[in-house]
Amino acid sequence: MSARTIWRCWGALMVLLALTTASAFLPLGTANLFISLGIAVTKALLVLFIFMELRASNALVRVFAAAGFFWLLIMIALTSADYTHRTDQRVPVDEVP
């Protein structure tokens, strides 16, 4: 990890930050969520591979690094199977408990 690599990476992260905040204000509907998450994933990959030196690590370390995220995706995906298919009506709440 040379200083040049680090600061170039920092530069990329700053650009991505500006992009994500700016794009949030564009009226793109649900695409906004995917854009901002996509940029977040890109930033995270930059930090993981360059700052956390995954690009210089062996396969085992990379599997360890990926495992948590992969399992999290499982959790989100399967619970969304419930929440995107609910047919119940939520009772409107209008009084202060």
Binding site: S36, G68, I76
Partner: protein, 211 residues
């Protein structure tokens, strides 16, 4: 994390280095699932509540949040410089970079504190003064998420600042054992706290801005 003598269970220092690296990454995986559980709950509610949930996000302070993200990303770069210069053998450089890292971390916490005080003034703090009649129950749930997520993150950050400061002192006073992995491991922890924020930022601050 004593690095004085090689543990009896290790045959070579290289083996120990690989083992502690794997151990650190395994620990970070647990942290991914710890924060991830909260984020999963957030996603589920976002899917289920839809508009009301996202509308509540508009009341967060996007300017301060963006500045804070920049602060944290820069602190990560400083941490990477610290680790890199330490492994190149320097003594003064890492201490300076670690100092910068810690300072930026403190700056993050201060800005966060400003945000929290603004939210307090705007009656957005659940359990303290949340204006339920004005914002509704779904918004209160959103702000519970907000305070829990940023609160746990800030806690991890404070621990990180402590570790970085201690490390700077150890390197500066020459007490650190150069054959060990402590610096690199603390670096991994710091970058991880950064990654958590990288994901929290769009979910909390950027939702619902496109209206």
């Amino acid at each position: 994390m004593s690095e004085q003598a090689l543990g009896v269970q290790y045959a070579t220092p290289g083996q120990e280095r690989e083992a502690v690296t794997l151990g650190m990454w395994a620990f970070l995986a647990t942290e991914v699932l710890f924060f991830g559980a909260l984020i999963a709950a957030y996603f589920n509610y976002r899917m289920w509540f839809g508009g009301e949930f996202i509308a509540a996000a508009r009341m967060t302070k996007v300017v301060l949040g963006t500045i804070n993200t920049g602060v944290l990303l820069t602190s990560s770069a400083c941490m990477a410089m610290a680790v890199s210069s330490y492994e190149a053998g320097s003594r003064r450089s890492p201490v300076l970079w670690l100092g910068a890292t810690a300072l930026l971390g403190v700056a993050f916490v201060v800005i966060k504190g400003i945000e929290y005080s603004l939210e307090y003034r705007e009656h957005l703090v659940p359990a303290l003064n949340f204006d339920l009649a004005r914002h509704g129950g779904v918004a209160e749930i959103f702000f519970m998420f907000y305070f829990c997520a940023t609160g746990f993150h800030a806690l991890h950050l404070l621990i990180g600042i402590g570790l970085v400061t201690w490390l700077a002192i150890w390197i500066g006073t020459g007490r650190i054992d150069r054959t060990g992995s402590t610096t690199r491991l603390i670096g991994l922890y710091w970058h991880f706290v950064d990654i958590v924020w990288i994901f929290l930022f769009p979910l909390i601050y950027l939702a619902g801005r496109n209206g």
